[in-house]
Symmetry: C2
Subunit: 162 residues, 2 copies
């Protein structure tokens, strides 16, 4: 049915495309003002340092979305997990099951890499995505809250270590 | 004041101690039934594969707590962050500022490694910790929820990629 759908690992030459897709995601999440990365920063992080990995989804050889992920770690299981930082499908390609194919690809990758689980975050207002994630068998960790020290708070706290 | 307090990076010979401290944390979080890691698993993950790093806090040369962390990644910033998976201080050593010293140590490490931010999760009932994190300048990401595919759900979804 989707023989023209393909998922591949991104390469350095995709850096411009990745930034464009990230920008579209930032617009969708109403967070464009928080997008600080540029091509040089992404090239260094993704392809020199390999801080995270990116896959590109294509349909008829055109890019239709991407996912960015890295490995986290469960102390209680003693094993790596796969943490999905971003998944994005361009609006005109939604509703065709491509998102589910990306999740299945990543679940298979996580199994191959002997990961204990796969996790990601969603904005609470994004009911459409939440329903989709539940349909995949994912459960919300409702009893947990993320805390964050941003750059300024980090610097202030770091000063206290000296 | 705390000249006898010291923080050091864990080594392979600390594996048994790390497991003991993880077990104490699991008891405190009422999750002992979820603790699957043993010494062999931890040795492989932490010291062969280096999936995460551990620091040990000591007072008068006795272990009083630990923290386990790894690097996550912010797409919008294009940079690594420091993700604190666990922090634990033995009950008899609480109330002396040791937790704050561990956070300051990690904040300084995050700065040295050019991380954009530092993050961790807390159980919603743990008001004492939440107040402490806010006192450090951390903010709760109340509008986000974590979703998780556990091992069984991961396997089922992976099968759909074939």
């Amino acid at each position: 049915m989707h023989q023209n759908f393909n998922i591949r690992f991104a390469e350095e030459k995709d850096t411009g495309l990745i930034l464009q897709l990230i920008r579209e995601l930032a617009e969708y999440e109403r967070m464009l003002n928080e997008l600080k990365a540029d091509e040089d920063i992404l090239r260094e992080s993704l392809f020199d340092r390999k801080d995270a990995e990116v896959i590109i989804a294509e349909y008829d050889n055109k890019p239709v979305g991407y996912a960015l992920f890295f490995h986290n770690f469960s102390t209680f299981l003693g094993k790596r997990g796969l943490y999905l930082e971003d998944i994005y499908i361009r609006p005109e390609y939604r509703g065709r099951g491509f998102g589910k194919k990306i999740f299945a690809f990543l679940a298979n990758l996580a199994e191959e890499r002997k990961c204990s689980r796969m996790e990601w975050m969603v904005l609470d207002w994004n009911k459409h995505s939440i329903d989709f994630y539940k349909s995949l068998g994912a459960i919300p960790l409702d009893e947990w809250t993320i805390f964050r020290l941003d750059q300024d708070a980090l610097r202030k706290l770091a000063d206290k270590s000296k």
